[in-house]
Amino acid sequence: MASDTPAAPLPPPPAASDPLPLPPPPPVPSVIPRTELPPALPPVKLDYPAAALSYLIPGLGQVYQGRIGKGLLFFFGLYTLFFYGMWMGQWRNVWLPDVSDMPPLEIAGSRMPGVPSSLYYRPQFMGQFWIGVAAWPALVQFSNFDPAQETGPIFGAFQRMPPEGTANDPPERVTLNKLQRDGNKRWDLGWVYTVIAGVLNLLVIYDALAGPMFREPPAGRKPDDPSSAS
């Protein structure tokens, strides 16, 4: 049975010039999917043996880790700076002084004999110490110091506290007064070089312990390539 109700008219076909209706935009996710983030770097593994090796000899920890080029750069760079500074100071600007005849350091009323007092009178050694075994002769000289002798038992005058000097010293005697008076500032600049070398080795030790400040992703993974994330 046919209905008498006329059918609703169909909408006119779109003209060729009319734009096609756009699909609704996809919902914006509130959280960026994990696959679109750069892959996270693996957590830092602290390498204490390598740090200890880099303290002993600058760059040795990096060589132990397989970063041989960087290790050699640290070794030659820091030893060049340290021994160049010692050469500028006529090899007499790294020592830990004997303070047995000086007033000891007092902190909060208590006297601090030994190494703390020595560092109080020669704070430069707190920086020089971190170059590693190259500064250990100063410790040997300190522990075996005999004010009646001009040289120490093992290393001779190397890294031994120079005598202060008097007005009656012969001209060939190396004294602290003579070094500072005749050094044309190079003696003082020399110990600055040795301190800088020691402090720079602290950065090298940290590089061996935890890696460089800006780490690279492992080989085969690029930060902007999510497909390479595992």
Binding site: K70, L81, M88, R186, L189, Y193, L200, D207, P212, E216
Partner: protein, 65 residues
């Protein structure tokens, strides 16, 4: 000024410090050699510029004042 610079001076010792500090510091920040050398060069230029600037200021102060 030139005779003073050509004389035995502590200023001739500064390039050793500048090169070593720049390269070692840059190498503690990166592992790749291209980045180490680029950052080391940058630090070297900055440190040299600072030292030259300070030197010029001191020279002017000591000469004209």
């Amino acid at each position: 000024m030139m005779p003073a610079l050509l004389a035995m001076s502590i200023y001739w010792d500064l390039p050793v410090l500048l090169v070593v500090v720049s390269l070692v510091y840059a190498a503690t920040r990166h592992d790749r050699w291209d980045k180490i050398l680029r950052e080391g060069l940058g630090w070297g230029v900055r440190i040299a510029g600072f030292l030259i600037g300070i030197g010029l200021v001191l020279y002017v102060l000591s000469t004209y004042i």
